[in-house]
Amino acid sequence: MRVLESLVLPPRQFRIVKYLGEVREGADVSEVSNSLGFKESDLMRDLAELESKRLIRLEKTLRYLVKTSELGLKYLELGLPEERVLRYLIANNGRARLEELASAGLNEDELRASLGRLRRYGLIKLESGLVFLAEGALSDFLGEVGRVKEILRNHVKPVSYDNLPDWVADLKRRGFVDVDDVKIIKVYPTQDLLKLLSEGRVVEGVLITNLTSEALVTGTWKKAIFKEFDVGVEVPARTPRLRHPYTLFMKYVKEILVEMGFEEVRGPYVESCLWNFDALFVPQYHPSRKETDVYYVDNARAEVKEVDVLERTKKVHTEVWKYCWREDVARMTVLRTHTTPVSLRTIYERGAGEYRVFSFDRVFRPDTPDPTHLMEFHQLEGIIVGRRVTFRELLGFFKELAKRLGMEEVRFKPAYFPFTEPSVEGFVKHPKLGWIEVFPGGMFRPEVLASVALPTDYKVAAWGIGIDRLAMIVLGFDDIRNLYSCDLDVIESTKIPGVILKNA
């Protein structure tokens, strides 16, 4: 780290360069290590770093260590084998049998090599299993033995050579010496370093693991050397406190609708049949009103204040469906089975005008929870009210909504809902699931609008999406119950999908 033109080095590197500055002409690593009292292995990383900073130059050379082997040490003590054979012959009147010699403490190889060597000097003759002493070059032989033993004595401690002496090959073959290759690293200070040293610009730094506020305030950070991190080491993950995935999804969808000019409205969960069914032109005998499909509430009464709606609804049902419409049935209390009553109540309250509203809320239908069914789920419901609102505009709305939800292709099919005509079901193309049914809607029937007395020149495009299905697809759930989970394992393992992150 270069700070204020000074070179801050960790303590050990600082001492190395200082030492090199003193010796100037370079030194072996072993010298450096001996002089500074660091282990050679510890120095190597520092030397590599210093070299990468171009403060030192490393010169690597190969050297040889020659050392008397275990065998060599033994012969130094007992004498060389050929010396010992000669001694035996002299002591035994100049002759001996081969077997005798073998029993004199030499193995077969040693004996054969010794005899070969003695014969080369002409000191023995072999005749019918007997070895005879002969007149040969005895003084040459002794001179040679002395020279070998001298070498062995000199190499009891290893001796290093830049180049191997001639005798090494023979003694190594005979197993008297061991030879090791050693890489010798010589360290030289660069001119840069010598310059920096001479200018006093090399500073000893402090190695730290964590920056402290004290270091910042006192300025010791200027001499700080940060311990390098190994980024490959696994670190533990933190579990963030997160929104529930479903409320995140809701926020994302609501924002899309607000961008499209919709106002959010809300309405009661506990609703009268009048608003949930009758005013929506669902005849009282319609199967969707059966106990198997609707949660009826006994211990709360639906106070129906909107007598005008009641009267108009009665008229519509009696005239169009032609049956005996019952007010007590219309006054029955249910948990709303859809959010369409919220839309209808809004039309009743706001009346004629140009407006767009939506609600994203819970509805209830009797069911037993399993991965694909729930007795309570969300509906995304909305209306577009106005004089020039048309069925084409509704289709256009679906296309725009699909696009904003990240789905490009939309296809429409005729559908049936009791309170809309024309009715439509919009399908979007999902890359994996293919065409999925997501957008039911239509134009509110004139009979429905008559119930809430909307002037007949106003039209209402209405839609009500079973949004949980889309939520499952977006959040990657295959169990619908996960959308309503309080299980932290489920919540924490939910991945927030890119479509939300991109659009939200």
């Binding site: 406190r241 997160l242 929104r243 529930h244 479903y246 409320t247 609501k254 499209m260 000019g261 919709f262 106002e263 409205v265 809300r266 009661p268 969960y269 506990v270 609703e271 005998y285 106990e291 949660y295 509430v297 211990n299 709360a300 009464r301 639906a302 106070e303 169009v320 032609k322 948990l335 140009e354 767009r356 209830f364 069911d367 929870p369 007795m375 309570e376 020039r388 048309t390 069925f391 084409r392 505009e393 289709l395 256009g396 296309k399 725009e400 005729p414 559908a415 049936y416 005509e421 024309p422 439509v424 004139p446 009979e447 039209k459 309503y484 989970s485 309080c486 299980d487 932290l488 924490e492």
Partner: protein, 547 residues
């Protein structure tokens, strides 16, 4: 939505044209039917509830033929018949009955199968599982008109599909249909259809007779509907009569007059309804006038007769089997379908005003962020919950469902504290410390008015070491962040430990409660870690803030 099974060759026979599967699938879409499965020559599709005329091959073949142009829309002519139906002794509780006669029938096994499929699908849907309407068909050559619809104490006959003669009581007691539909008749006041010689045609809405049933040999059929809703009954009679008449090259439909009190003097009433559609209405509803683009053939292909067509209106006659057509909008829908929904185009116009999130919802979003910032994890629960848990944790009333499928989900929560405790329970076996919150709606039971919903924020701190202090710390941090000053007042709740609970007051009004959950409640809920909870009414808090 009823699933209907037909044979391709049979549909071709009725439609009077060969059909490829692709072609049929495309036409099915215009009839609001979804092709579900093809097995050899068998085709299964799902029909829409509003098109009962699609519940069998007859109606489907008829509409397909008209759509393709191989057939013309039909004008039904109803002939007189010498006979009548006597309803003067009909049961009071099921007072209506109508008949229709269809002659010159040419039936085979598939035709008989289709007619009974239609009867069964109508029963299951429009007829309210026979409660509103019950339909029967008989071989007219095996009965002796006039036919009487009467109430009897008892009678005997051989029911359809049985070998032996049985009494009506026995039928109710022992047959499958008897057991299933016994609740629709009153004891010893049984409805019965009999001929002039006293032969039983049917014990409606339970079982028809074996001896005069419709078979492949039947040439003349008599069809009955009995029930409680006369207009619906007439619609059903029209659907089945026109369908049965498809099984003849020269069908003769005869009406039967009714003796006794009846909203209709005779049946069937197969008159076409005349609907006038203003072309201005078409454009203002659809955003396009398909007639202008593609011509009136669009309406004819959907089975309408065009009575007159001018610049400003089109008058059509609606065939009597189209019971779904109630007004001009239904005709306009057919026009749009015939034109093709995917051909209509359409863009959304610019919004007339700015969009807006409900202010309370936006405030809730802000609270959500604060709670997350305080390090609590958001959870979600159902609003439907176990009434026992509500009773255990709340002193106030709550909405109960009369017809739950499971007791666990038979009451509507009136507080979030029970669901916070449910969440603690769900997680307590896996985690030793929990800090969670929920923002959601509750429903309060109120006298003489629709129960009101309220929005609440609740949190729970569960684990060894948590006390009321921790609950108060979260509360203080929350209130400080939103700039609300509050006071605490000692309170006593059966949910909370006495002396370790406080009411939260803003401007003197109670907006919530905070406290340590009592060990009795914890044990009762199988929660074995100490839990501190709090609940704040967001609506009240919001109103305090904005004033």
């Amino acid at each position: 939505m009823p699933k209907v099974e037909v044979k391709l060759w049979d549909v071709e026979r009725v439609a009077e044209t060969p059909l490829s599967l692709e072609e049929l699938a495309r036409i099915l879409e215009t009839l609001k039917c979804d092709l579900e499965e093809v097995r050899g020559d068998t085709i299964v599709y799902e029909a829409s509830h509003d098109r009962p005329d699609m519940f069998s091959a007859e109606g489907l073949g008829r509409s397909v033929g008209v759509y393709k142009g191989s057939r013309k829309p039909i004008k039904y002519v109803v002939e007189d018949s010498p006979t009548y139906l006597d309803v003067s002794e009909a049961p009071e509780y099921r007072p209506y009955a109508f008949l229709a006669i269809v002659e010159n029938l040419e039936l085979d096994e598939e035709a008989v199968r289709q007619i009974f499929q239609l009867q069964e699908k109508l029963h299951a849907t429009y007829c309210g599982d026979r409660e509103l309407v019950s339909i029967g068909l008989y071989d007219l050559d095996k009965v002796k008109p006039p036919i009487k619809y009467v109430e009897v104490e008892n009678a005997s006959y051989r029911p359809l599909g049985y070998e032996n003669v049985m009494s009506l009581d026995e039928i109710l007691r022992t047959t499958e249909k008897g057991l299933k539909y016994a609740h629709l008749v009153r004891h010893r006041r049984y409805p019965l259809l009999i001929d002039s010689e006293g032969q039983v045609l049917s014990f409606p809405p339970i079982l028809n007779a074996e001896d005069n049933k419709v078979t492949e040999e039947t040439r003349r059929a008599v069809i009955d509907v009995t029930g409680t809703e006369p207009y619906l009954m007439m619609k059903m009679l029209n659907v089945i009569t026109t369908s049965v008449s498809e099984r003849s090259r020269n069908p003769v439909i005869r009406k039967v007059s009714i003796k006794g009190s009846s909203p209709f003097p005779y049946s069937p009433v197969l008159e076409e309804t005349v609907v006038e559609v203003g072309r201005g209405h078409v454009t203002s509803l659809l955003g396009i006038d398909p007639i202008q683009v593609k011509g009136p053939r669009l309406l004819e292909s959907m089975g309408y007769w065009i009575q007159s067509l001018s610049e400003d209106r089109v008058v059509v006659k609606v065939p009597p089997y189209r019971v779904d057509v109630l007004s001009y909008v239904d005709v306009i829908e057919d026009l749009a379908i015939s034109y093709g929904y995917n051909e209509l185009g359409g863009e959304i116009s610019n919004p007339p005003h700015f969009g807006r999130i409900n202010p309370l919802e936006r405030f809730s979003e802000y609270l959500r962020e604060i709670m997350l910032g305080l390090g609590l994890q958001e959870v979600l629960n159902f609003m439907l919950t176990d009434p026992e848990i509500l009773a255990l944790t709340s002193e106030e009333g709550f909405v109960r469902v009369r017809n739950p499928k499971m007791k666990t989900y038979s009451a509507v929560r009136n507080s979030l504290l029970p669901t916070i405790l449910t969440s603690v329970k769900t997680n307590s076996s896996k985690r030793r410390r929990l800090e969670i919150f929920e923002i959601g709606d509750v429903v309060r039971l109120e006298e003489n008015t629709l129960p009101k919903y309220a929005k609440k924020l609740a949190y729970g701190l569960a684990g060894d070491g948590y006390t009321l202090t921790d609950g108060l710390v979260v509360l203080k941090s929350l209130m400080k962040t939103i700039g609300a000053s509050y006071e605490l007042r000692k309170t006593s709740r059966k949910l909370l430990i006495e002396g370790r609970a406080a009411e939260i007051l803003v401007n003197g009004e109670s907006v919530g409660v905070v406290g340590e959950v009592s060990p009795e409640v914890l044990i009762n809920l199988s929660i074995y870690i100490p839990t501190t909870v709090a609940e704040v009414d967001i609506v009240k808090l919001f109103s305090k803030l904005s004033t």
